[in-house]
Every structure is written in structure tokens, then in C-alpha cells.
């Protein structure tokens, strides 16, 4: 995509384990912040493009529109969870390009920090999980990825310290931001001593849980010129999936450790952007767990299968490495809003607003969203 659609405003509630505000209040705050950041009045908004499963159940489009006095001429939801959040700019860009909308808002909020059961209730309505997984106590995301990690150890070998180093690096980034949820220092020794959640994954291998919301505003480049901040262009989105249900995706795929379609999503995003991710100045990858982040590095093609651990250990994903990863600390340490905060951080980087974790002269970066079997990759640039 040419530089014709831009993110012109961002908003996020402060990263928090628990907030006294409910998800609608949090999301509203984020949207208002994003609009103020853009210098755009709500009355100018004519479209919503958001994630397609959690948002309708928590902060439906009609509610947000009514709260802000918005009449939508474009309305779209995409995929679910992370891929929906990260992929929604694709829908917004299509709408803006085709003239269906001029100013499109995307938002996402979650209250899993306060809600009993947190994110684990997310999978309860799935019949196959209820029948064939819950009775066995296989009903938490850490266990899903723990099975993967154990299998990865068998197929490729895995030094657990490599997972630990990823957690340590991202904690350092989080601490540097000065506003992340996790502020306590984490050393490799701390990681090794941390209790197991679902072996071989320890607490620091797992993302935090949060109450909070993020929002961003997109518009056409000519409108962007009159906004308050430098535009960050939506250059391309790649989306992929696999013919497997989200119930089956963690256990049944033949080649469990290669996420189908991820490489194709990268290719599609690069084609749309006319850019190569090899030139990316940073990557905000969906790090629900250390191991899922590691697998994405490989499946995206940044290294061979089995090699991501070494890549991390050699420092390539540090802020001063060749592929700075999760500059804000990611889902592991910054907050857990399913990569909505990754989009916000990417925009900050490209505006030069990232403060202590700023990648010097960041020109282009990308964000990923993962919720098996779906995957989205968003390329943004100055």
C-alpha cells in the first residue's frame, strides 16, 4: 500500500493488573484519548474497524457510537483476538481507500485482570474442549503452549535459558518505559528459580494479565496532514489461517510446531507494502508466551526452525540488536491487551515518541497478532 492511509491518533489506558474502571469505561477513555491525540472530533468519525469476537461481546460498536454521537457509514469486525486487532487496519484502509469512510476508529479493551477466571474462561464455550480437555484439566493457555515447548525440546532441542533470556530482555525493556505493569527486575537466575506454571513454562514465560484498553484513529493521508502528530502509514497487512478450528489448533495439526500460513502472511504483507521485513527497524510480536514468540521468529523466516533460541541468546532481539523485539516489554511484561498495545508502541516508535526504548531513526516496523489458527501481520512506516 502506498502512503495513503495513516494512523493519526493513539490512546491507551495505563498498563494495570486491575483497574477500578470497567471495560467500557476503559475503552471509552482510550478512544477519547486517541481522538484528542489526533485532534479529530468524534463527530468526524464515520467508521469502526475492530477485532470481531471479544469487542462485540464487551463494547459493541453501536454502544461506542452512541456514547460518542457517531453515525457509522462503515462497520467491520475481523477474525478474533490478536489477529483481529492487528488486522483491523486492513479493513479500515480498504474503507478509506474506496471512499466508504474517511475517519475510522479501532479499539480494544479487556478486563481479564479483574474478571474471575481471567482469560481462561475464554475457551469455556467450546464444546470439544469442554468434553475432551476440561475433564483432564487441560484448560489453560499455559498448558497448551507447554505441550508445544516440550515437543519443541524433542524435535529441535531447546535450552530453557533461551526462553529465560527472552523474558529477561523484555522485562528490561518494560522497566525502561517507566509505565509497564511489570517493574521488578528479572535476571536469568530469577527466571531459573521461578515456579513452574505448566512445565516447562514458568511464570516469567507467561504474559501478564491486565485491565485496559487501547484505541487508534486512521484516516486518509490528506486529512492526516492537518492532524496533531506525524502520520504513521498503514503499509500492508497479511492475514493467514489454517483449516483447523481454534478447538483443535493446539493439539491436532500434523506439524504442530510450524504455524501454517505465517510465512505466507509475511509475504502478503510485504507484497502489499512493497517493503521487506528484513529492513524492519523493530518487531512487536505476539508474545503470549516466550515459546510462541520464539516460534513466530522462526515461522516468519528470520531464522531457521530450531534456531530462534540461539538468535535470542546472541542478542539479536535486544534494543540494540538487528531485530529489536517488543520494545515496550510486550505481553510478557508491559500489559496484556492482545497486541493492541503492540500497535500503539509501533506508532510511538515511528513517531519518535518511545522515550527510553526509542529505536534511533525508526522508519518501518511490524506487529503480529496470533490466535490459532489465525494470524495477522501489520506493516507500519513513517
Amino acid at each position: 500500500m502506498a502512503q495513503d492511509v495513516a494512523i493519526v491518533g493513539i490512546g491507551e489506558t495505563p498498563p494495570a493488573r486491575r483497574s477500578p474502571h470497567d471495560v467500557r469505561e476503559l475503552t471509552l477513555q482510550a478512544v477519547l484519548q486517541a481522538l484528542a491525540d489526533a485532534g479529530i472530533d468524534p463527530s468526524e468519525v464515520d467508521g469502526f474497524a475492530t477485532e470481531g469476537m471479544i469487542v462485540p461481546a464487551t463494547v459493541p460498536h453501536d454502544y461506542m457510537a452512541a456514547q460518542l454521537g457517531i453515525s457509522r457509514h462503515f462497520d467491520a469486525g475481523m477474525s478474533f483476538a490478536g489477529p483481529g486487532i492487528v488486522g483491523a487496519p486492513q479493513l479500515a484502509a480498504m474503507a478509506i481507500r474506496s471512499g466508504l469512510a474517511r475517519v475510522v476508529v479501532s479499539y480494544f479493551g479487556v478486563d481479564w485482570g479483574s474478571r474471575p477466571g481471567g482469560p481462561y474462561g475464554f475457551h469455556d464455550p467450546y464444546p470439544a474442549k469442554m468434553a475432551f480437555e476440561k475433564p483432564q484439566g487441560f484448560n489453560g493457555q499455559p498448558s497448551y503452549f507447554a505441550l508445544w515447548a516440550r515437543r519443541y525440546m524433542h524435535e529441535y532441542g531447546l535450552d530453557p535459558d533461551h526462553l529465560g533470556l527472552l523474558a529477561v530482555q523484555q522485562r528490561e525493556n518494560a522497566r525502561l518505559t517507566g509505565r509497564a505493569q511489570m517493574t521488578r527486575a528479572l535476571t536469568l537466575d530469577d527466571y531459573r528459580a521461578a515456579p513452574m506454571v505448566s512445565d516447562p513454562l514458568r511464570f516469567p514465560d507467561c504474559c501478564v494479565i491486565s485491565d485496559g484498553a487501547c484505541a487508534f484513529v486512521m484516516t486518509a493521508a490528506d486529512r492526516a496532514r492537518d492532524c496533531r502528530k506525524p502520520p504513521v502509514y498503514v503499509r500492508g497487512v497479511g492475514f493467514s489461517s489454517a483449516p483447523v478450528s481454534s478447538e483443535d489448533a493446539f493439539t491436532q495439526p500434523r506439524d504442530l510446531l510450524t504455524m501454517q500460513g505465517v510465512r505466507e502472511a509475511r509475504a502478503a504483507a510485504e507484497r502489499a507494502a512493497g517493503l521487506s521485513l528484513a529492513d524492519a527497524d523493530f518487531a512487536q510480536l505476539y508474545d503470549c508466551f516466550t515459546v510462541s514468540c520464539l516460534l513466530q521468529i522462526e515461522d516468519l523466516g528470520f531464522c531457521a526452525k530450531g534456531e530462534a533460541g540461539a538468535m535470542i541468546a546472541e542478542g539479536h532481539t535486544r534494543l540494540d540488536g538487528r531485530l529489536p523485539l517488543n520494545t515496550h516489554g510486550g505481553l510478557l511484561s508491559y500489559s496484556y491487551r492482545l497486541a493492541a498495545e503492540h500497535v500503539i508502541e509501533a506508532v510511538r516508535q515511528l513517531r519518535g515518541e518511545a522515550g527510553a526504548v526509542q529505536i534511533p531513526d525508526a522508519q518501518m516496523g511490524f506487529v503480529t497478532g496470533l490466535a490459532l489458527p489465525d494470524f495477522s501481520l501489520l506493516v507500519l512506516s513513517r
Partner: protein, 158 residues
């Protein structure tokens, strides 16, 4: 509809045959006569060929440990007292394409190795029939004194 005693949730009809065969002492999985494939978890139609004639086919029982994890933190109140416990993924030589989630007694955790032979232990007489796996007593997969074939395959009745 088959009720699940533990959760109180009703299962879809295509799940029924699995539990009926479990009551008879066997593990079974959806098998399609049109394309010859198994699939799991049970779907309305065969996901490989969209055929509508699949039925539950019993397996001999013994399998291979594809992966496992030992859970140390409960994710729901039902399991607070159960931790630590082991969740395993088991494959079957006579049901390729199926990976079954199963428990293995925690006391076996230090013996577990990916690829090892495991065998089922079915409690068909419990109020809700249950199954667990354990490391196979003998090395050869395919021999299991505790496996039992059902008298006949069950349709999914869906």
C-alpha cells in the same frame, strides 16, 4: 444428548459414540469410510472429504506419547486440589491423525519421554467413564493386557 456429569454441559450428538464406547471399555475415534481418514475432535462431516458417513472406530488402546506437561497451577477451581498433575497428548498407530488429551498419574512424571509407548486404563464402571494412560508395561506398542475391543463400532447418530 449426552450429559457430562462433571460440567453439567450437554455434548453435541457427534460426541456420543466416544463416551458410549468408553462405557464398553474402549477408546474410539471418528473414521470416514469414504476417504479412510480419522479426524479429531469429532465434527459434523469428515473434514478431509466432507463425507457424512463417518463412524466411531475402536483402537486397540496402546499409543505413543507425543508430548506432555505437568500442571502446577490450577486454571479453574475444579482443579485446585488436583495440582500437580500431568496432561499428555497420545497418538495411536491405528488412528493416524488423532491426538488424544489424557492424564497420566503424576508419580510417573519423571519416567516420561516423548515417543515412549503408553497404554490406556479405562474405568468403565465409574458414574462417568474415565480413561488415563500410563507408560506401557512392556516395550512393544500394540500389546496391552488392559485393552478391550468393543463388540462393534458405534455410529455417531448425529
Amino acid at each position: 444428548m449426552t450429559a457430562d456429569d462433571r460440567t453439567g454441559a450437554a455434548h453435541p450428538p457427534e460426541f456420543r459414540g466416544f463416551f458410549e464406547n468408553l462405557r464398553l471399555g474402549s477408546l474410539s475415534f471418528p473414521h470416514c469410510p469414504d476417504c479412510g481418514s480419522f479426524h479429531w475432535y469429532p465434527m459434523k462431516r469428515c473434514p478431509h472429504c466432507r463425507g457424512g458417513r463417518w463412524s466411531y472406530r475402536t483402537v486397540a488402546g496402546p499409543g505413543t506419547l507425543y508430548s506432555w506437561t505437568s500442571v502446577h497451577r490450577a486454571f479453574s477451581p475444579d482443579f485446585t486440589d488436583a495440582v500437580p498433575y500431568v496432561v499428555a497428548l497420545v497418538e495411536f498407530p491405528d488412528a493416524p491423525g488423532v491426538r488424544l488429551v489424557a492424564n497420566i498419574p503424576y508419580e510417573e512424571v519423571d519416567t516420561l519421554r516423548v515417543g515412549m509407548a503408553v497404554e490406556p486404563c479405562i474405568d468403565r464402571d465409574a458414574a462417568t467413564p474415565t480413561f488415563r494412560f500410563r507408560p506401557a508395561r512392556d516395550r512393544a506398542v500394540g500389546e496391552s493386557p488392559s485393552s478391550r475391543r468393543a463388540e462393534h463400532d458405534r455410529g455417531h447418530g448425529g
